[in-house]
């Protein structure tokens, strides 16, 4: 009797243990709040944790164990400028909603993830850059006659729940119907099938999707942007030194051509020429 009931209790516990066995490897790749910010960390540890997107073709896409895209190349340039080898970079997947928390909590050292600089975010984090000026645009079927957001009345537009592009549609174009999901990759099959008339977010992101093999020739980016989205590199709010250093690295990258090379290796493949990096627009770090 005793054996049996012990067996029952042990079995329940055993089930749970079996499922957690070897579950001890830690989940955090935190950087800690090392004094001296990223410059200090890069020097002393030769390591950086960089937050990037994993689901945006052309910008930040995880393909197997690798990440690839324009943001990834920019991140590599910055790491190199800080003296960190490519092998010293730990990539960390972020989504739009957790970029500020990741920086504030020290889960990542830097964020290079289609990260628009704005005042609200500046309250929480520091931005270097911008390294690219994107703008909200529409992705439509190749044969669509839509030419801009003004024609969206009665049309269905797909975007990501709670994102800035989605909010701009509800506020400025209330006659458009808005379909929201948690990822853009869910919008594209709907655009292909015709359930939605357009997908909206930053032009550069849309271009990345349009250039994917399986959608080649099916979609086009309308090309009339209706916002300015300066992409910055996010770091800890008090890390002014790190921010200035990153700006220097970006400036150097524009001059020695590595910025252009980063573009050509990724988004440039679709034929779009590399943009000029306007180094006069680099932010005054720490000035809110």
């Amino acid at each position: 009797m005793r054996m049996k009931r012990m067996a029952a209790v042990a079995a329940v516990a055993g089930l749970a243990v079996a499922m957690t066995a070897c579950g001890g490897d830690s989940d955090e790749g935190g950087s800690g709040t090392g004094a001296g910010g990223i410059v200090g960390k890069a020097e002393s540890q030769n390591k950086l944790v960089i937050g990037v997107k994993a689901d945006q073709p052309g910008l930040g896409l995880q393909t197997g164990s690798q990440y690839e895209g324009f943001d990834i190349e920019i991140a590599k340039i910055i790491a190199k400028g800080l003296g960190v080898e490519e092998s010293g970079i730990e990539w960390k997947t972020t989504v739009s909603a957790n970029r500020e928390p990741f920086i504030e909590q020290g889960t990542v050292d830097l964020v290079v993830a289609t990260y628009t600089i704005n005042d609200e975010r500046k309250q929480k984090v520091n931005f270097a850059g911008p390294y690219y000026i994107a703008g909200q645009d529409l992705l439509v079927k190749a044969d669509s006659t839509l030419t801009g957001p003004d024609q969206l009345a009665g049309k269905t537009v797909c975007s990501v729940t709670g994102s800035t592009p989605a909010k701009r549609i509800t506020e400025n174009y209330p006659d458009a119907k808005l379909q929201q999901f948690d990822a853009y990759s869910k919008c594209l099959p709907l655009l292909e099938n015709g359930q939605v008339d357009a997908v909206t977010t930053d032009d550069i992101i849309l271009a990345g999707y349009a250039a994917q093999d399986q959608y080649a020739g099916k979609f086009k980016v309308v090309g009339s942007t209706f916002s300015d989205e300066p992409y910055g590199i996010g770091l800890k709010k008090d890390d002014t030194d790190g921010c200035e250093k990153v700006n220097e690295i970006l400036k150097a990258a524009a001059e020695d051509g590595s910025y252009k090379a980063a573009w050509d290796a990724t988004l440039g493949k679709s034929g779009t020429p590399a943009p000029e990096l306007d180094t006069t627009k680099l932010t005054h770090c720490g000035a809110v």
Partner: protein, 297 residues
């Protein structure tokens, strides 16, 4: 009452014919529906090899699906252990003779049963860091959310189980001089745990499925890695979702099967748990082996 064939007579010749006809009619209708769905998916090009070919590549499994599955199992495993501990502690808490233990324990359990897990995980990830002035990883946000909710459900299950142990058991234990603590620990809990085993395990299935809500804080579990991220590479989101669903069904069926096996293994129960009397009922009676857990997530 066994449902095997108490509800209808042993079929005679006419009933057999009728059952056969019904079987064929229903079967054909069902196959027709499935075939229609198949052709509609075909028209929408959902069976195109291009969409399914990625699943023959090893990188799809080693880089996306298996790491996602591992993250799912890891969160579920840790969540299961903590939920069981939480459940036992709060079941005892609610059964305590001291009101200043039983009342707060009851409030905690009732509150966490009533708040959607989606809200809990979201709050733990974004809100709690403000309170503790430190980071909460996505992993712990998911695990703690799962623990609070499923632990509360298990607390109710344990409580119902403990109350259902025949009174003679604890009376006999007190009679031989055991303290309340000993009676609970050595007499009531082991018997309750065995009687409630089916409910416990089906709640663990619920817990495993609930890890899917980790996507909300970008926890890289099976849906995040195997559906969202994989589809970003190949644009085959429906195919990815079908594969993920099959994986969930297989794993949960195994877990359910294991529960059934365990139930049979542990032999004839000493007593049967009567119908629930707890507020908001702790789910169901394990009689006859059928169990109902809370269908969250």
């Amino acid at each position: 009452m066994s449902t095997s064939n108490v509800l209808y007579d042993h079929p005679g010749p006419r009933a057999k014919v009728r059952n056969a006809v019904l079987s064929v009619v229903f079967g054909v209708a069902l196959l027709g529906l499935l075939y229609w769905i198949y052709t509609r998916f075909d028209q929408a090009n959902q069976w195109e090899p291009r969409l399914w070919e990625p699943f023959t590549r090893s990188a799809t499994w080693t880089q996306f699906i298996l790491p996602g599955l591992w993250a799912t199992l890891k969160a579920a495993g840790v969540g299961m252990l903590l939920s069981l501990a939480f459940g036992i502690v709060f079941a005892f808490g609610r059964l305590s003779d001291r009101w200043w233990i039983s009342v707060p324990a009851g409030m905690v359990v009732e509150f966490f049963r009533a708040v959607p897990l989606l809200l809990m995980i979201f709050f733990i990830f974004y809100g709690v860091p403000f309170l503790i002035k430190g980071p909460v990883t996505a992993f712990w946000a998911v695990v703690i959310g799962l623990t609070l909710y499923n632990g509360s459900v298990l607390a109710e299950a344990f409580r119902a189980g403990i109350r259902a142990v025949p009174g003679g058991q604890s009376e006999a234990a007190y009679a031989i001089g055991m303290r309340k603590n000993q009676v609970m620990r050595m007499i009531l809990l082991p018997q309750a745990a065995r009687a409630m085993l089916p409910i416990i395990v089906s709640q663990l299935v619920v817990l495993l499925k609930d890890t899917a809500l980790g996507y909300i804080v970008a926890y890289p579990e099976l849906l995040q890695r195997g559906v969202n991220d994989l589809a970003a590479n190949y644009g085959n989101i429906i195919a990815c979702a079908i594969v993920a669903a099959v994986i969930y069904i297989v794993i949960n069926s195994l877990l359910t099967w294991f529960a059934g096996w365990l139930d049979r293994r542990t032999g004839v129960r000493a007593f049967r748990v009567p119908k629930q009397t707890a507020p908001a009922g702790a789910d169901s009676t394990p009689e006859g082996g059928a169990t109902v857990s809370e269908p969250q997530g």
